[in-house]
Structure formats: C-alpha cells, structure tokens
Symmetry: C2
Subunit: 229 residues, 2 copies
C-alpha cells in the first residue's frame, strides 16, 4: 500500500532589520525576500524558508534556511505562528513561521542575486499568503515593543539614546518626544551608561549598553535557541 503525503511542513522566517537610506529622515523597517525560481508563484518574491528536515528541530531549520538564503544570523529568533489554511498553496502545506531581528550592520551575502531588502510597510504582492504573514509579524513586533526590550535586537552593542528612540519611532511609525523618551528609558533601568561618546556633526552623545541581566523578551518555559541578546 502506497501512502502519499497529503500534508507537508515548511519553515519560513520574517527577518526584520532597520536600514537607513541616504537622505531619509530615519531608519525604516526592512525585510529580505527571496525571488522564487520555480512554480508555484515563479518569479514572485517570498519569505526565506524551506521544507522541514526530518533530522532538524523547527528552529534549526529556520536558522539553516535563513543562513542558506540570506547569509544572515539573527540576534533574536522566535516562533511566530503556524499557518495552515487549506487553500494557501496548490498542495497542502503547513508553514511554521519564525520571526527574527538582525542588527543594522549586517549585510546580505553578496553572491545572492535573488535576495533583496524591501520596506516592510510597502511590499509588492508576495507569493502564497506571505503578505498576510508579514502583516501579522509587524503587528507582533509593534505589540511586543510596548512590554519588552525587543527593540535592542535591532541595535549594536553600544548605542545612543537617539539611536534607541529611532528604533522605537520606526517600529511604531510615529515621532516620540526626545525628553519624555529619555526620562522613561532612564527610569526603566534596562540601560547601562558607558564612558564612551559618539562625536560628529552634533554635540557628543553618550553611548549606552544593554543590561544583559535582563532578558530580551520573556518567552517563558520554552527552550531558548541560538539567540545572543
């Protein structure tokens, strides 16, 4: 008796990063997409991912396909949701979707011709239900920034309060009052001031580092993967 597999499992990842374009006022939330080279949806852009390898845990497949398609290693990786509606693909595919944050200084592997960064809030029509998935990931990110220190996943080790405020502004999509923001952050005790300053066109800005005693985001009793908060 031949059993054909009616349902297959894929793992995809929404990778957010803040990227600054020349001349733009502040950074924007961007994500890398991969152009599909085969049907279905050949030629359309899609989230990086691949089939679940029977020998790998879900998070391992997420990390591996992420590295293979984009050359990126995330600073934060968390399961987002399992998307499994009947009509979302010609065959029945359940996609376990992860979301990841990468710091501003990373670059895509230069060999990858079919990978490019897109503004997360102004995407073209993507393959499958991937527009819907990105919308949900954006909602989760905006939600989480309110009750966790997830914003630090976008920043290098040392950053100014203005850098941190720009991250919040990009995520929330609105300007924040600098004085109020400084007060709130200083009261929260999640940052440690250093003796280093950034100098440049403006007056010197003190650099802070993240208090590593505090978790980036509380994920409860779930196992912690390859993250370095």
């Amino acid at each position: 008796m031949t059993r054909t597999p009616p349902i297959t499992v894929a793992v995809s990842t929404v990778i957010f990063s803040l990227r600054r374009e020349p001349g733009a006022e502040g950074p924007r939330i961007m994500l890398p997409l991969v152009r599909r080279t085969r049907d279905p949806h050949e030629g359309q852009w899609a989230l990086p991912g691949g089939w679940l390898d029977p020998a790998e845990n879900l998070e391992e497949t997420a990390s591996r396909t992420l590295a293979e398609t984009t050359g990126l290693a995330p600073s934060y990786l968390e399961q987002l949701y399992a998307f499994g509606d009947v009509g979302r693909s010609p065959s029945r595919v359940v996609s376990i979707v992860y979301w990841a944050l990468v710091r501003e200084d990373v670059s895509l592997a230069t060999q990858q011709h079919n990978v490019a960064w897109f503004d997360a809030t102004a995407l073209p029509e993507l393959a499958f239900d991937h527009n819907h998935i990105v919308d949900y990931a954006l909602w989760r990110l905006r939600n989480k920034v309110g009750y966790s220190r997830i914003a630090h996943g976008f920043l290098p080790d040392l950053f100014s309060l203005a850098d941190l405020r720009e991250v919040y502004e990009a995520i929330l999509g609105r300007r924040l009052d600098p004085a109020n923001f400084r007060r709130q952050v200083e009261n929260s005790a999640t940052l440690i001031p250093t003796d280093e300053f950034r100098t440049g066109n403006h007056r010197p800005a003190r650099l802070y580092r993240y208090n590593h005693d505090v978790e980036l985001a509380d994920r409860g009793p779930l196992p912690h993967g390859k993250t370095r908060p």
Copy 2:
C-alpha cells in the same frame, strides 16, 4: 517512486476550565485529558487531539477533535505554539497546539470513559511532551490575564465581582484584596452592572455582564475563529 511521509502533522488542544470541588476554598484550573488506547504511550493520559485532516484548516481540526474527544465547545480558542522537536515522538510529528477556555457550567460528554479532568498544576506524567506543553499554556494564560480580558472566557454571562476575583486568584495562584480588585475593575470600564443580584447565604451580590464592545483578547490581524466572547 514511493514517497513515504517522514513528517506528520497533529493538532492538540489544552482546554482550561475553572472547576469547584465540594469543600474547596475556591475553584481550581482544570483540564480534560484523554487516556491513550494504543501505542505509543498506551494507557497514559494525553491532550485531546488528532491528525490534521487535509480538508480542514488547523483551527477546524482543533474544534472537531475537541468535540469528538470531550464533547466540549470552547468560549475561547487560540493557537498556542507548534511543537516539533525531533525526539518528541517515535515517528516525526509536528503538533500544532491550541489552547481553549471553557466556562464553568459545561460538562464532559457522559459517554466518554477515557476522558477525565485533572488539576493543571498537579498532573501525572503525561504522554509525549504534553507536561511541557501544559506548562507553557499555563504560563501563557497567567501572562495574558495581566494585559487582556481573557478571564471572562471562564465565566457565564452574568457573574459577581467575587466570581471574577476568584478567576484571577485561581489563574495567578494567590489571593487578591477584594477592595483593591473592585476598584481596579470598576476603573477599567470593561464590565456593565446589571439590575440582577445573586442571593444566598451572604448579602446579595450585584451581577455584572461583560462589555461585548471590547474584544476578549486582541489577536491582531489573524482570522477569528469559532469563538463567542
């Protein structure tokens, strides 16, 4: 060429309800479990669930297996997490786990001999990784009660403030000050006082109903399933 399916997809549900035992001080968080009638783990208790039907969406399989195994229809149903570690079952199984709340007044289908309620905080050793899954669901419930109106998923249409406080106490595992609790709830504007009272041994308690203009829990742009909040 014969392709054998190396990975299968199951859907299971953690169903929380508050149940009151004679003589106990307050209600406890209970969940129904199903005794397995075949290997692996024959004879052990496990979460209700079953294989994903290729013709059903994930949430439809969750609702159907829930009804088939326990006869219950939930007041709240939400995806919890996808568990897919390599060693969690003899064959490779990815379990999409939902969590559900049911009101106190429901009963299990009486025909079901292999279904019973267990105290969620004092479980025996369950099949597979189901103890770990229940722990995670409890963590999510306790977390969510702090920033949403999820507690109402345990209550009937009309309830007293003492009923509501008991729900919070059972979820959080600690006593709350009645006067403080009343003040906080009244300030939140999520309850509508009715003209009905519960009479009994104590002085009459005013009954409230839930303000249906407010969502039970914000799930963002995800599709809303068969819930009746």
